[in-house]
Symmetry: C2
Amino acid sequence: MGDEVGIIGGTGPLGRGLALRFAKARMSVRIGSRDPERAREIVAGLADRLGEDAARVVGVGNADATEAEMVVVAVPFEGLRPALEPLADRLRDRIVVSAVNPLAFDGDGPYSLVVPEGSAAELCVALLPGARVAAAFHSLSARQLGRLDEPMDDDVLVLSDDEDAMARTVELAARIDGVDGLAAGPLRLAAPLEGLTAALIAVNQRNRCHAGVRLTRVPR
Amino acid sequence: MGDEVGIIGGTGPLGRGLALRFAKARMSVRIGSRDPERAREIVAGLADRLGEDAARVVGVGNADATEAEMVVVAVPFEGLRPALEPLADRLRDRIVVSAVNPLAFDGDGPYSLVVPEGSAAELCVALLPGARVAAAFHSLSARQLGRLDEPMDDDVLVLSDDEDAMARTVELAARIDGVDGLAAGPLRLAAPLEGLTAALIAVNQRNRCHAGVRLTRVPR
């Protein structure tokens, strides 16, 4: 697989966490934002923690983030449509990995939003004709991703209707120290994977932790 | 907690598997069915595997299964309404644990059904006024539950809007050898937990396994 990843909406907590881990895995990372200046500021802020790996991380506009071989989408759900609509031509035939969790919060904690397309990943399919959409990384704790002194201890379930896109996303996930990627199935299974993050956040709030998910009894 | 559990729809694969594990945990188990004769046949068929623990398992009609202190619902989703409607009076004020996964299968494998009430667990709330509904056990492999020579290696996430019902369901789950119960949050988080089972079944089909779920980085 390629050694470069772009992250649309890479300046949020999950995007920053993934960027740190991919950079530590010796990948080149394009952190994208609506505002390239903001992306450059975020990258400058990560430099101390990355040491010599910082040289492979750049802050760019979202359009420039799509120049990477693999593109991860990590925008907040409400920003998904405005972020992707202007990028549809650029992302045709490309592998686009949705890490978007359509969640909201109220006094009772986190909950899943109902998405008319079925899931955030399926909304990506609707917004990006011809793109090869996968879904992954939903359950990774942004906080834990940022703790570079600790390996992760997580499985990333990967969904796609495109077997090659799924396989390459499994490989991308496995670049992160302590993460296994597992091919799970078609994109129509994305809604529960996205929604599970609400349950994990609820567990975290109850237990003051940053839980992750592992599958047991799966051949590795 | 009490030492008796009833299983509405206990003759299906999940119900039988839970019954075996609860019986091995020295609980008394009422396996319920629409057809009490069918329940007695199933119980007779489990006797060899349970040895002396078989004496604590009985086959009964679903109404008699509700006499137990804790009641688990393990009917197929399409049987949920007809099974519970006649039991609404009996189940008022009772702890009722939905293990129901609203799933279907087609040529592309398993997928989640859309439930107008939000989830099977929330449909239980609608069908059972005054019942104290929890949701749990969704991701336990029926096949693995039946392998009594192997401990489970699973977390059971428990949801309820009733803290006491949630705590007692956590204890019930923990009776199973190798299972931890984890209080997760309110019932409105049930849909993704129920739907996750579709992704697990898809993983199982790809990998010829019977996967389970563990959370990492949670204090035990």
